[in-house]
């Protein structure tokens, strides 16, 4: 079948046009492959090993959801760290943390701990907020000082002796 010259010329023109169109789109216009989400159950498993306290799965779900945006390799890192913990038969973070190699894995582990203790995604003013009152920094001292904006005692009933540092609350 003969291809008309017109169709060839037209065809030749569409290619550069398409290329121009394609390249002129800003990078975010082209959907990049999404960083895979971390399954909440796996993330909670990781979290409980890195942070040996009772952890609220609702907060865990929020952190897990945000993690890929900050650590795109989150799923892989989670799996890798869990494997290290498994190899050490770890129950507590002290059992295996030293085995986590410096670099992205250790950074991610620290980030997970940061997120649970601060309730935020970063120390910056534009951080995402996962929790406020559930942030573990407040749980560490909840026996002795208020979580600001939550009542601490009945009226004028807050006088008490200085609590010892060693008496960490159970949480």
């Amino acid at each position: 079948m003969a291809i008309s010259r017109r169709s060839v010329v037209l065809g030749a023109m569409t290619l550069p046009a398409a290329w121009l169109g394609w390249s002129s789109m800003p990078a975010w216009g082209v959907p990049a492959p999404q960083a895979p989400a971390i399954p909440v159950q796996q993330f909670m498993q990781l979290s409980k090993l890195l942070v040996n306290h009772g952890l609220d799965p609702a907060i865990g779900a929020r952190i897990a959801q945000a993690a890929p945006g900050i650590h795109p390799e989150g799923v892989a890192l989670t799996g890798a760290i869990l494997a290290i913990a498994e190899a050490r038969k770890a129950r507590l973070v002290e059992d295996f943390f030293d085995a986590i190699p410096a670099g992205p894995m250790q950074e991610f582990a620290h980030w997970v701990i940061f997120a649970w203790y601060s309730g935020c995604s970063s120390p910056k003013k534009d951080a995402q907020v996962f929790s406020y009152e559930g942030a573990l920094t407040y749980q560490v001292t909840r026996d002795t000082v208020a979580i600001p904006s939550y009542g601490f005692s009945g009226p004028n009933r807050w006088q008490r002796p200085i609590a010892p540092l060693s008496a960490l609350p159970h949480f």
Binding site: A58, A61, Y150, G151, S153, G154
Partner: protein, 469 residues
């Protein structure tokens, strides 16, 4: 001679003017009268908000309209200064004013009818001699027609007033008899806690089984295990009457907080024990608050929060979204009642689970809208209101209160949401209105129409017959 006459006249005037005041009641009688007045809680109704004690003027919303309490100080012009002891007794125990007109049973004379002559005498002594006279008029009660026809109360009294309501019970202990005398008499528990019939009379067969009081629900205080206070010890009842709170069970608000502040908290320990003892022997009646189901209202619920859905997303988003109840709870209640509804560690601010206030809906809604105000020897307990009051911490809408109340019920209460927006609106308006008023009017209208029709029929027939000479 003239000076003698002037002197005599002055003496007579002096004698008359002091007749109602210093009739020479001894201090012991006056003091006993004061104690009985405290037990009867006269001050709660007969004192306006932030007003002078016993000077009246408190406007009380009743299901048939507003009732204004009277000045019962010994003022001769505006109070009861001219009342003889007989007139005082008739008002107290028969519901009849000095001018012969009946009182409305908002005055619990059907309960006070139980009081002895000696106690009435002591009360009279107190009111004539122990209460400062306040010469200030109080606006009269003006209920809508036909409720303003006081004469109809005579028929009501004939049906429902028992002038000796306490039947002899010689087999009972002195403590039980004293408890009954106070609970059924001076303390008039049934006035609030006994449900009423269509004509607003207490249903004696359901004595103390729970009733609506304005926007509040006075719960079932019979010893029924499921729907009453069968699970309470006498000591807990005494504790509640003394301080208004039993941790993990209940706390008093509304009219009961008032009653505890002004009355129960100041009674003798022996009297509180007697009341508790008597109440625990009442016939147990299984009757729950409407819609509350027959589970025990104490010991329900558990701690928790929904903040995973709200944090970091913004208040306005929380108020528009599916977690409105949780958002309202966090923003308005959690500061005192805790992130997880657990209250404060010292228990001062109560937990919302294991708390009968969050089990049903009436008192839950009323607590939110009206708050709690209760002064006892333990201090001044104060939860601010969230309704339309100038001192509301936030003015919550009916939708917001309903969402909040449902959230509280599901999370901390019985587990099921039962609050409708109309329930909140009704509570905000002062509680359910009685059908008695419109039905009375309709009934009267129908009766009048019926009379007219009868008259017309008779006249027409007469004309038809007598038409021919």
């Amino acid at each position: 001679m003239k000076t003698c006459f002037v002197f005599l006249r002055a003496l007579v005037l002096l004698a008359c003017s002091s007749a109602a005041y210093s009739q020479g009641f001894d201090a012991v009688t006056v003091a006993r009268g004061q104690y009985l007045a405290t037990a009867s809680d006269c001050i709660a109704c007969h004192t306006a908000h932030k007003g002078v004690p016993m000077a009246g003027g408190l406007v009380m919303a009743s299901p048939v309209g507003d009732i204004v309490s009277t000045n019962i100080t010994p003022s001769r012009e505006h109070g009861i200064g001219n009342y003889t002891e007989q007139q005082f007794s008739d008002a107290l125990r028969k519901g009849v004013r000095a001018d012969g007109q009946p009182l409305y049973p908002a005055m619990p004379y059907v309960s006070y009818a139980a009081m002895t002559d000696a106690d009435v005498h002591a009360l009279y002594a107190y009111f004539m001699q122990g209460v400062p006279a306040v010469d200030k008029a109080v606006p009269p009660t003006e209920l809508p027609f036909p409720m303003n026809v006081r004469a109809s109360m005579k028929l009501w009294n004939a049906l429902f007033l028992d002038e000796s309501p306490l039947k002899p019970a010689p087999e009972r202990s002195p403590q039980w008899l004293r408890g009954r005398y106070l609970a059924e008499g001076a303390a008039h528990c049934g006035t609030c806690h006994t449900p009423r019939g269509f004509l607003m009379q207490e249903k004696k067969e359901l004595n103390m089984a729970g009733a609506q009081v304005g926007p509040w629900y006075a719960p079932n205080i019979t010893p029924d295990g499921a729907t009453g206070i069968g699970g309470w010890s006498e000591a807990e009842l005494v504790q509640y009457l003394r301080g208004g709170r039993v941790e993990g069970k209940a706390q008093a608000a509304g009219s009961m907080a008032e009653a505890i502040t002004h009355s129960f908290s100041q009674l003798d320990e022996a009297d509180l024990q007697a009341i508790a003892h008597y109440v625990k022997t009442l016939p147990a009646i299984e009757k729950a608050e409407d819609g509350a189901g027959k589970a025990e209202r104490f010991g329900q619920g558990k701690p928790g929060n929904a903040l995973g859905e709200l944090r970091g997303k913004g208040y306005q988003e929380g108020m528009q979204g599916a977690y409105l109840g949780a958002q309202v709870y966090s923003a308005n209640c959690a500061a005192c009642h805790g992130v997880n509804g657990e209250g404060t560690p010292d228990g001062y601010y109560p937990s919302l689970f294991h708390n009968s206030a969050t089990f049903g809906k009436t008192n839950l809604i009323a607590s939110i809208l009206y708050g709690v105000d209760r002064k006892t020897g333990d201090g001044h307990v104060f939860m601010p209101p969230f309704g339309d009051q100038p001192n509301a911490v936030n003015h919550l809408s009916d939708d917001e209160v309903a969402a909040l109340a449902n959230y509280v019920q599901v999370r901390f209460g019985g587990g099921a949401p039962t609050v409708k927006v109309e329930d909140v609106a009704e509570s905000r308006a002062g509680g359910p209105q009685s059908h008695l008023l419109p039905l009375a009017r309709i009934g009267m209208g129908a009766a009048v129409l019926g009379l007219i029709a009868l008259l017309a029929f008779v006249l027409l027939r007469r004309r038809a017959r007598g038409g021919r000479p």
